[in-house]
């Protein structure tokens, strides 16, 4: 019985969201706002349990690492963001977080550029490798805006556009399939879990 009620509640909210396909309506808005509220509310006990207890409460109050009160004070500076006279204090925790970007200079150059270039510099021993090489170079040339995309250069960048369109198409196809599989999951839930469960 409890399972049937649970499924009926889930089915009600599923249909409330699907009702948007007809037009915007109060049931959809109710479900939408409920989803926002529950999603945020769901994160609070998890943050308490997985971040506050192990990284703040236990080190300070159980292990007596009193120096960790300093980062807590910096963390509290986030909260004064809404005060007109004290909002500048929120820059301190933001600055501490932004400090990590220094590592980004080296790490993004390595992971984003050098590793990609190493993967691209393979022996061109078949047609696929040649196509990958041409595609990579022409796509990069398309994003070089210091030279006008006209004449022979324009034709090369046009090849890059075609490669990009195939890439966008592949991403689009994968996205559609992911959404369709979610849709199938919801329809299966409504048919097998709710309607069939109710009949049984």
């Amino acid at each position: 019985m409890f399972e049937i009620i649970s499924n009926l509640i889930a089915a009600f909210f599923t249909l409330a969201i699907f009702s948007f396909l007809y037009k915007d309506n109060p049931m959809y808005r109710l479900a939408e706002q409920l989803l926002v509220g529950i999603s945020v509310g769901y994160g609070i006990p998890l943050t308490w349990q997985n971040a506050f207890i192990p990284f703040v409460y236990q080190p300070i109050f159980i292990q007596h690492k009193w120096y960790l009160i300093i980062p807590c004070l910096f963390g509290l500076m986030y909260v004064v963001r809404f005060s007109r006279s004290l909002s500048w204090l929120a820059r301190y925790p933001i600055a501490i977080g932004m400090g990590m970007t220094g590592a980004g200079v080296v790490l993004s150059m390595n992971a984003g550029v050098l590793v990609q270039m190493r993967s691209a510099m393979q022996p061109i021993d078949n047609i696929n490798m040649l196509l990958i090489f041409i595609g990579t170079v022409t796509v990069l040339l398309y994003f070089y805006f210091s030279k006008a995309h006209t004449g022979f250069y324009g034709k090369i960048t046009k090849v890059g556009v075609w490669f990009m369109m195939i890439g966008f198409g592949a991403s689009f196809g994968n996205t559609v399939m992911a959404r369709i599989s979610l849709l199938i999951g919801r329809i299966q839930f409504l048919v097998y879990d709710v309607i069939m469960g109710f009949i049984k």
Binding site: T14, L34, G97, G99, M100, V139, A170, G173
Partner: protein, 207 residues
Amino acid sequence: MKKQIPLLIVIVLSFLFALWAVIPHKVSEDFFQGYLVFARAMSPFGVILGLMSITMVNVTKIKRKAPTWQYSYVTLISLYLTAAIGFIWGTSEGSPYIWIFKNIQMPMSATMFSLLAFYISTAAYKAFRARSAEATVLLVAAIIVMLGQVPYGVMISPKIPAFAQWILDVPNLASKRGFGLGVGLAMTAVSLKIMLGIERSYLGGGD
């Protein structure tokens, strides 16, 4: 004082982190671990900021009787009720907190994402109507990739799944690699600008 010291913190920390990334030494590793302890202790307080922000936005909406202000009650009540249930009855399997997640949050978020299947189809139709060669290439590639993942694709031609895989492995890889290199260079440039104090928008406006 209000902007210079945070900027100085960013510049000094950035240089230290750049050194950490290239010097695999015990001192630099200790520095990184120390920073992690510091940042982890600071992070839960960011949630308070988010909570205050969503509460203030909705309370202001209710106070001003803005359009659809009644729904702000739903947001606030569901937010604090879910959090309270999590704190009172715990977050373990079988608790009301998990029941809410499984029977309300999860079905609603899955349905919300599945709605995109319909809107994405409309977008595809509009792209096809554009009738340009590039739009057609995009759509043909998308259709082949989609057919390659369903049994109908094999029914039409047994070669479709292999062709779909080839699209993913060759032209798709080439374009993604081109983007990857561009994004990598852009990230390096932005990180460098922040490190040198040229990019300061994260400090916000005002004094």
